[in-house]
């Protein structure tokens, strides 16, 4: 079943700016973990923000679960931004309560279990945490919603390789079979093994959209190697 559908999706910033996204056509089904892979400035974050409604398309359409982007579609989407946005004076447990108030589908028990697994104290004040630990907290918040579409913008960007594995495991453990996870990143070697599909995006256009197994079988190389080849300077 199609969960996400983009048709002729384009976005320009300002009058003289070129296309940040140029005529994107995309279909993603349920129960998948999909990598949105591209170099810096390729349009990954723009695409994610169009899907979650933080940006409005210049032209074209986005449907989530058959619905246009709006209040209903946002209920189905759990979004991890690539920056910190939480009030940093709060304790982690206060942030959890904040999320309980905000999202009907937020599972506080699950969040507490995950924090425990990741060895983050719920008593800690957010601003005293390291960059990696802050990222873990934000991921826990996002994965503890029972959403249908998880949009993760660089979830492993700021953490060490050991923490990357822990975060990927957290994603694997917590998405359900009828949900889809879209992971935007340029750290391909790390995420490749958890992906069903890879979308290569460059200069606002989709270069490739294929299953990871298919890429390896037909090209005899890993997605990481293909990425280096496609985006070689």
């Amino acid at each position: 079943m199609t969960l996400l559908q983009c048709e002729g999706l384009s976005k320009t910033y300002g009058k003289e700016g070129g296309y940040a996204l140029d005529n994107i056509n995309l279909e993603i089904g349920t129960g998948k973990i999909v990598g949105l892979l591209g170099p810096n400035g390729s349009g990954k974050t723009t695409l994610i923000k169009l899907i979650n409604g933080l940006l409005v398309p210049t032209s074209g359409s986005v449907l989530v679960n058959g619905l246009p982007v709006g209040i209903e579609s946002k209920n189905a989407v759990s979004y991890l931004p690539d920056t910190t946005y939480l009030a940093d004076w709060m304790r982690v447990e206060q942030i959890l309560d904040f999320f309980v108030d905000f999202y009907a589908d937020f599972d506080k028990e699950r969040a507490l279990t995950l924090l425990d697994q990741l060895q983050v104290s719920s008593k800690a004040v957010f601003k005293t945490l390291s960059k990696g630990t802050k990222e873990k907290v934000q991921l826990v918040l996002v994965m503890s919603r029972r959403a249908q579409l998880y949009l993760l913008d660089e979830p492993i960007g700021g953490v060490d390789p050991a923490a990357r594995d822990i975060i990927l495991r957290t994603i694997l453990t917590n998405y359900s079979a009828d949900a889809t996870v879209l992971i935007a990143t340029h750290l391909i070697a790390d995420v490749e093994k958890v992906l069903d599909e890879a979308i290569f995006i460059n200069q606002g256009a989709i270069v490739t959209h294929d299953s990871v197994d298919n890429i390896r079988e037909t090209r005899g190389q890993s997605v990481d190697e293909m990425f280096r080849e496609v985006f070689a300077c």
Binding site: G31, K32, I33, D165, L168, R169, L172, T173, A177, K193, V194, L195, D196, V212, D213, R216, E217, G220, Q221, S222, D224, E225
Partner: protein, 124 residues
């Protein structure tokens, strides 16, 4: 976490890995395998990839699925033994090719192996 190589699809590497686990008795004949989800988390890979690998193992007869109880290692010990023989012979052939490539005579190869065996101590 397991390091996967670049050339082969990951599901194919999981097939290999599970076959070795079955051949070496990590998973005994007729015992139940971990669930897809548990294997996916253990191996750090996508559950669909594990699913695909297990489907292949079913096709080749290493694994059987019982409708409600999950997946079990086959009771066909002859099949498992045969696969093990093929695998170890292939490994030995690879080794032989490498040694010949390095310019060793067969007599020298035998001597080297026996030397290594002595060094490694008693057969476990």
């Amino acid at each position: 976490m397991i390091r996967f190589s670049a050339e082969k699809p990951i599901y194919a590497q999981i097939v290999d890995l599970m076959q070795v686990r079955i051949m070496t008795g990590v998973y005994q004949p007729q015992t139940q395998l971990p669930s897809v989800r548990d294997l996916a988390i253990q191996l750090g890979v996508n559950p669909n990839t594990v699913q695909r690998a297990l489907a292949r193992l079913e096709q080749s007869g290493f694994v059987k699925s019982e409708r409600t109880a999950g997946r079990f290692v086959s009771d066909d010990t002859a099949l498992i033994q045969q696969a093990r023989t093929t695998l170890v012979r292939d490994k030995a052939k690879d080794f032989l090719c490498t040694m010949r490539h390095y310019g060793c005579s067969d007599a020298e190869i035998r001597e080297i192996i026996e030397g290594c065996m002595r060094e490694a101590g008693e057969d476990r």
